[in-house]
């Protein structure tokens, strides 16, 4: 295994590689000119507008709903309640975790913001005005807000819709070996435990969720433009829920203004738009507003964890154990492969060589918005990495060891790969120490520690935080992974036109990741057609092959592999045609990016463009070869890919006001083969910014009555350019052995890796006060509490 290490220097992006390399994004000309086309830009003749009435309270029985005044309101075409939907069998729908969720509440409302009724009207204003006229009588019930009390015997039962349900228990899950772990803990020199909360946060994409549904009663065909990260999976689910034949459903996911997992689930609003179109016979648009997005759509995290770590006195980590209480809200809407109710939390063993590990998790229902896996978390790896990287720092604190040295001492060694963790994950490749050393070198780690010591003498608070993470992305092998029975494979189709231009059709859907560029480059690298000559189509189920979509950093590991392989398939055919054109055997041809050359006579060659014309042109082709130059495949990954990275954060804390300033952030990522380094850096920069948000300011909080306190961007803070430093990035390259081009995913690495680095830095800054832990979000007020020895969990 070879790993190369690099520090990223600013470079000119504007060149045109014939394959992998830095190039400007093909999609950006339309975005920077304001010519993107989002769901809300879709305008159809006669289109109506839909608005949703939401519950103002967290838990209540619906006594009655009076819609007469709303129906009479000017411009109103339809008012629909849960009862009306129930008559069609559509009041409830399955969630991605096999639970059910109310489309419109029938019996009870179970969280503030839950959908209760909808209005379809001539315009947005008329629809919204009519909502005010719907009269709902609620019979208030006590809400369950604190997950810690959800299983108390006296807690009101939220899910009394489920047969025989008498408590708020959602599921139990465990992984690892409890007994072996106990043995290691019992014999260990040192055991450190820490309660750690990862509060509820929200992906808050710039574009909220929405849909335009257009049901054509003559064709019997439903066209649905919607904000979805997984158009094909959604189509199949609509077919299963609504009973419409699948070939009569077209899901179109146009430009998407950020997903981060928020646009993986099917939301009641999409179903309402479909019903609205069927009921009125017109196209119907629904776009939620900012508050609706924040209070009702897929949240993330909400894990109350206890972490324990066992080690020898000299800092050899032996075992990690954790107990997790997971708050899943009112319906279990987690998007995770079926066999993984806690997502990939099992990688909480981190990047270390352990003797044992064990996790026990209990998930509960509460009167909060459903969701569970969203927000760039690679199926709960964000929580797992936060747990392990925080608890390792707690150990360093206890042992009075430098946290960088402690990590270096325990990182997996290159000869251990492929490495099977104590919880059964097979890390495909990794070479961790060079990554860590490069981060320390860019940071000037020793110098920073010296500076910190001097500052401490003067009473100044400076902190240095480290996180080392291993991600597990590219779900996933179909033998293990499916969502509601759909295997997590992805298709890809490549057509080369007669003039040598090409179109590649993907089953995944970009939300800002730059697929139109990266996938063109993957194909270009394999087949030698310039990326600018390759059009990438995605997001339209009628025009792309089936696949499970973009989330969990899976596009490059799964769909990227498909793109490389389909291009190789086309190239294989091109080689045969070229052999005919050059009148030599296939074995006598040598491929150099873009052309086949005759071995020993390199002057004789044909370009891929020549071959494309021949494939579609006149004249005979070699025996058994059909005309045309195209192929399609479906790629089933044999394993996940395991990117890793080392992050170092430097903060200054104002001793008087407790404000945290992130002064520097060094991120060294290893995502295997790098296709477009500029796009990777963009993904990393965005994820790091996310991390600053979660570490320092973001939290969806609730008051004791279950009112959401983060219902606007004034209350739910997301970071701005002023809160983030100039990112310093570097990379190492350890290719994935099983991916056709050695690439691993990188979309979520920085979101996963940065929160612990930042929190570790703040906690390190507060060391003079004897602080060894403080929970996110580290707002000035909460940091001040910690400085006074009064750190509290945020929930």
């Amino acid at each position: 295994m070879t790993t190369t290490a690099h520090r990223v220097e600013p470079e000119n992006n504007d060149h045109k590689p014939l394959g992998h390399g830095r190039m400007l994004r093909k999609e950006d000309p339309r975005f920077v000119r304001g010519r993107g086309r989002y769901v809300d830009d879709v305008q159809l003749p006669g289109m109506l507008h839909l608005a949703i009435l939401r519950s103002p309270v967290a838990h209540a029985r619906i006594v009655s709903i009076d819609v007469t005044a709303a129906q009479a309101s000017p411009g109103v075409r339809a008012v629909v309640t849960g009862e009306a939907l129930g008559e069609q069998g559509l009041a409830w729908m399955p969630t991605l975790s096999g639970d059910v969720q109310a489309v419109l509440a029938t019996d009870k409302v179970r969280f503030q913001g839950q959908e209760v009724a909808f209005v379809v009207a001539d315009d947005r204003y008329a629809a919204r005005d009519a909502l005010e006229l719907i009269d709902v009588e609620y019979d208030m019930l006590d809400p369950v807000i604190d997950a810690r009390t959800a299983l108390a015997p006296e807690a009101p039962v939220i899910r009394d819709d489920l047969d025989g349900k008498s408590d708020n228990h959602c599921f139990d899950w465990e992984t690892g070996d409890a007994e072996a772990t106990e043995r290691v803990f019992a014999a260990a020199d040192v055991v450190v435990s820490q309660d750690i909360v990862y509060p509820r946060v929200h992906p808050a994409p710039m574009e909220t969720c929405g849909a335009v549904a257009d049901f054509d009663p003559v064709e019997g065909k439903l066209r649905l433009w919607s904000t979805t990260q997984a158009p094909h999976a959604h189509r199949t689910l609509y077919a299963m829920v609504a009973g419409l034949p699948e070939h009569k459903i077209q899901v179109i996911s146009p430009d998407i203004g950020g997903g981060f997992g928020n646009k993986v689930p099917i939301y009641p609003g999409y179903v309402c738009a479909i019903v609205g179109s069927i009921v009125t016979g017109k196209p119907v648009k629904w776009m939620e507003d900012r508050s609706e997005n924040l209070i009702s759509t897929g949240f993330a995290r909400d894990y109350v964890m206890r972490g324990e770590i066992a080690a020898t006195r000299d800092g050899k980590i032996l075992a990690i154990r954790t107990n997790v209480l997971a708050d899943h809200g009112a319906f279990n809407g987690t998007a995770a492969p079926v066999k993984y109710p806690a997502g990939f939390f099992g990688v909480f063993t981190g990047s270390y060589d352990l003797q044992a590990a064990y996790c026990k998790m209990t998930a509960v229902y509460t009167n909060k918005a459903p969701g569970g896996v969203a927000y760039a978390c690679s199926f709960r790896i964000t929580e797992a990495v936060y747990l392990v990287e925080r608890i390792v720092d707690c150990l360093a604190y206890r042992l009075e060891m430098d946290p960088a040295q402690l990590r270096l001492k325990n990182l997996l060694r290159p000869e251990q790969f492929p490495y099977t963790t104590r919880t059964g994950w097979v890390y495909d490749s990794g070479n961790y120490e060079p990554t860590m050393r490069l981060a320390m070198e860019i940071a000037g780690y020793e110098e920073l520690r010296r500076e910190q010591a001097e500052k401490r003498e003067r009473g100044e608070l400076m902190g240095i935080g480290i996180a080392f993470f291993t991600e597990a992305v590219g779900a996933g092998p179909r033998k293990d992974m499916d969502i509601l029975g759909l295997g997590m494979a992805d298709g890809c189709e490549l057509r080369v036109h007669p003039t040598g231009k090409a179109v590649v059709r993907l089953s995944v859907q970009t939300q800002g990741q730059g697929h139109e560029t990266t996938f063109a480059q993957i194909v270009a690298e394999e087949i030698g057609i310039p990326p600018d000559d390759i059009d990438v189509l995605h997001g339209d189920t009628d025009n792309t092959p089936f696949g499970l979509g973009t989330y969990g950093s899976r596009s490059t590991p799964v769909s990227g592999a498909a793109a490389a392989l389909v291009a190789r398939k086309v190239r294989d055919k091109a080689r045969i045609i070229a052999s005919g054109m050059l009148e030599v055997s296939v074995a006598d041809l040598e491929w150099r990016k873009g052309a086949f050359h005759v071995k020993g006579d390199p002057g004789r060659s044909v370009t891929i463009q020549d071959v494309a014309m021949r494939a579609h042109g006149a004249g005979d082709l070699p025996d058994g070869i059909e005309g045309g130059l195209e192929a399609q495949i479906c790629y089933n990954p044999s394993n996940l890919t395991y990117p890793h990275g080392a992050y170092i954060c430097v903060v200054d804390v104002d001793p008087g006001t407790a404000q945290v300033k992130v002064r520097r952030f060094i991120a060294v990522d290893d995502c295997g083969t790098r296709i477009n380094p500029m796009i990777i850096e963009g993904q990393v920069h965005g994820g790091l910014t996310d991390g600053v948000g979660m570490a320092l300011m973001e939290m969806i909080a609730f008051d004791p009555d279950g009112n959401c306190l983060g219902a606007s961007l004034m209350d739910y803070l997301i970071p701005t350019a002023l809160e983030v430093p100039d990112w310093e990035t570097g990379f190492t390259v350890t290719p994935s052995p099983h991916h056709p081009i050695g690439a691993k995913g990188v979309g979520e690495s920085a979101t996963v890796g940065s929160p612990p680095a930042i929190v570790n830095a703040v906690v390190d800054a507060l060391k003079p006060f004897g602080v060894s832990h403080a929970d996110m979000p580290l707002t000035p007020s909460r940091v001040w509490d910690a400085m006074r020895g009064a750190a509290r969990p945020p929930i």
């Binding site: 204003y125 919204r128 008087g656 006001t657 909080a701 002023l722 000035p780 007020s781």
Partner: protein
Amino acid sequence: MQVPAPFEYRRAESVDQALDLMTRLGSTARLVAGGHSLLPMMKLRLAVFDYLIDINDLHGELGYIVVGPETVRIGALTRHRELLESAELAAAFPIFADAERVIADPVVRNRGTLGGSLCQADPSEDLSAVCTTLNASCVIRAPGGTRTVSMEDFHRGPYETAVGDGEILTEIRIPVRERGSSAYEKVERRAGDWAVTSAGAALWLNPDGTIADARVGLAAVGPNTTGIPAISQALRGRQPSEDAWQEAAALASRHCDPATDQRGSADYKRHLAGELTRRTLRRCAQRIEG
């Protein structure tokens, strides 16, 4: 998209015409200045008005900064951005530029106004604290004439001011005193967020270098429009010193009534009231020294 309830809209062509419309329409009408407080409330349907009277065309009449020898006069429609960028104002009262740098963001500052800020009377609003610090008075015009009130009389509580239905705030007047300076500091969770706590301070020295007077205005820690006379009393006649600032800080912490919320705990805000008072007074003294 959040959409407000239906309303009618008029653009006023003069202050008199605006007053006339307001008088006729009563409490169903509202003036709209920058709109950055009013429109969000209407879109969230926290506020519903039948009529909006837009006074933005009156910028010629109500948007000005006049620095005189004894008084600085600022028109109610002066935008945040104009307050931020006026060199003359910064020379007289650097507190304005200090505060404006941390109020909202450039988009809001391009439109939001001094008058709208004061009339909105949000408990975390910064310019009220600035005006309190500088002992400003407010000129309110009614159909029958004009009256001038102190900040104490102007600010009646959260979202409540002395400006009645059918009245317009037209001008802020600030007395100019010798050998003085001013400063502002704010702690926010994130750029553009409302204050967790802010403090403004103004300091004036006697010719012998002792303190002639000091005023402190706080934001986001409960009603605060007096300038905290106890601080003035405690500091008058003393030499500028860390001890003096410390005492003022303790008084500021005592003279506030913060509440715990998402922005921070009451204890923390009380601590900040003191800490920021100390910092701003210190800066005032440094600025006077030059």
